[in-house]
């Protein structure tokens, strides 16, 4: 029976490793990175994955080995030793060292995302989260948010490509989280606070999802970030500013 367990654990480890190996080709991985943060974030994710993977295989391997060796259920192979200081020191200090090293390597990344938000002044748009909708508010012709010529767009925020883009995140009710997987960007949105995020992205259309369980409809709280080449973006904004002050019908399609 012990041996069956050993094989089961071994199979489990093999399954986990195999699923990681096949993840990219099966689309189980994150979408291709499309923001300035993506390369370094991916490198960090990969590093952590390798470190964790190595320890995972090591611990599970040892477990399988020990269970297997006890396979006959006798006490013959047991040692009387109750502790081994050297061993304990190693398995405490090595992982601790790895953790400290990881904490230090990710600092630059963290600083870039959280403490280097560019520019003062108005953000490109304010992203309002509510159960279960995204609604974007753009400053309009006067470039100022909170004035009467602001225009709103449901579902989708449009931003320029290749430029530093800052968005201000706001919530109308509970905590939501702004997550654009392709940008490797995730930030909680807290009611009563105005939190900024920034990124520089390639042109394209990207999924925006809520990453904080916010109620029964959380699963369908989807939006989109549309990144346009700068000239197209300028034209788009001008068109929207004008439409805001006209009676014409609009559909974002």
């Amino acid at each position: 029976m012990r041996r069956v367990w050993a094989l089961l654990f071994a199979a489990f480890a093999a399954l986990v490793v195999a699923s990681f190996v096949h993840a990219p080709e099966r689309g189980w991985w994150l979408p291709e990175g499309k923001s300035s943060f993506a390369p370094s974030t991916d490198a960090l994710i990969r590093t952590i994955l390798w470190v964790m993977g190595a320890f995972f295989v090591l611990t599970l391997g040892l477990l399988v080995l020990f269970i297997w060796r006890q396979g006959d259920g006798s006490n013959a192979a047991r040692s009387d030793k109750s502790s081994d200081h050297r061993l304990e020191l190693i398995w405490t200090v090595v992982p601790a060292g790895v953790l400290v090293w990881l904490a230090l390597t990710q600092m630059d990344e963290w600083k870039a995302m959280k403490f280097s938000t560019p520019g003062a002044g108005e953000p490109i748009a304010e992203v309002w989260a509510s159960q279960f909708d995204w609604r974007m508010r753009h400053p309009g012709a006067d470039g100022r948010l909170g004035s009467a010529d602001d225009w709103e767009s449901p579902y989708e925020v449009v931003v320029p490509a290749g430029e530093e883009v800052r968005l201000r995140l706001r919530s109308r009710d509970v905590i939501h989280s702004f997550f654009v997987p392709a940008f490797r960007l995730k930030q909680d949105i807290v009611p009563g606070r105005a939190i900024s995020v920034w990124f520089t992205a390639e042109a394209g259309e990207y999924d925006l999802v809520c990453a904080e369980l916010c109620g029964w409809g959380h699963y369908k709280m989807a939006g989109r970030v549309r990144v346009l080449p700068p000239e197209e973006y300028q034209a788009f904004v001008q068109r929207q500013n004008a439409l805001q002050l006209s009676g014409a019908e609009v559909s974002g399609r």
Binding site: G146, A148, P154, G247, S251, R253
Partner: protein, 370 residues
Amino acid sequence: MSLRSVLLALVGLLPAAGCGFQPGAAELAWGLSAKSREELAEAPQAQSELARLLEQNFGTPADPRFPPAPQGGLAELKPERRAALERDNQTRGLAADHYPTPLESAELYRVHCLHCHGAAGAGDGPTAASINPKPRDFRKGIFKWAAVKDKARPRREDLTTILENGVYGTAMHSFARLPVAEIEGLADHVRLLSVRGEVETLAVNHFKEEDELDEELFGEHIDTVWSRWQRAESKFIAWEGEIPSDSPAMRARGRELYLDARKGNCVQCHGDAGKGDGPAAWKINAKGKKELAYLDDWGFPIQPRDLTQGIYRGGARPIDIYRRIYAGINGGPMPGIGETKNSQGGPLVSSDDLWALVHYVRSIPEGAGP
């Protein structure tokens, strides 16, 4: 088996069992509305005849039919919308004129809308119990956020705009992530349910007055209801050209009209500061408790909007607010003043005045921010 392995197996089975909503046959069927059954309680024959006629003309959720436009609405799309549909189809690798069949539209509705709006569009899906305002009951043919006057039925674009924009500030969120073709198909299905519901009510009322119900008459009922829908386009509130621009003078004028009891008189419902607490909005009931004075057409208490929030259900563009003030809000107490006459038979307010009101209303939340 040991207790431990039983527990383990149970935990493993949990995801398989799921915790999804499993609608029963009754929740998926159309049938007769509770009101029709009640009204025709004494006439069981009329009940079964009505059920038969409804099914004969509109089919069932598994085989939906819409006599006025049996193929769906593809042929009704305006050129720009048709172009948008074709573009969108092509980016999805579909034939340019791909369009859902009535059955596919019904299926989309079941997946995306039924849990709020109910199978027959009565606004009674399982989620409805826990949200306020309630999901729209389509069967009266009354829609609030259409760009039309005279309490007309919505145009096709009104329905698709609502689907793409959502009704902000309510549980009705945007469905903009769906393909254009699916949005159009869903609009078809909403219209089907709405027309079916109106026809049902008409048939019941007619039967109660005249004691008649047969195939020919039922056909006439469908024509009557459909002609209401066909009038929508002629009721569109258009605005060509520039919108009179926002200015402090405009806002001041708007404020004046907002307060003027003979002109806008918005203050009686929306209150001086726009908080939705005007004197007409609330009343003291028999128990001495304060309660909302107005009910909407579905019988739910309704509060005039708190205009300080800057959350507009029917759209936040100036033109949207203009249309609300021009035509009022269908299904509720808010009156339109766009075509009201004064005692001399001239217009009560000029179009500049209407825009002044728009600019004033939109300035109320300025700077406040929630």
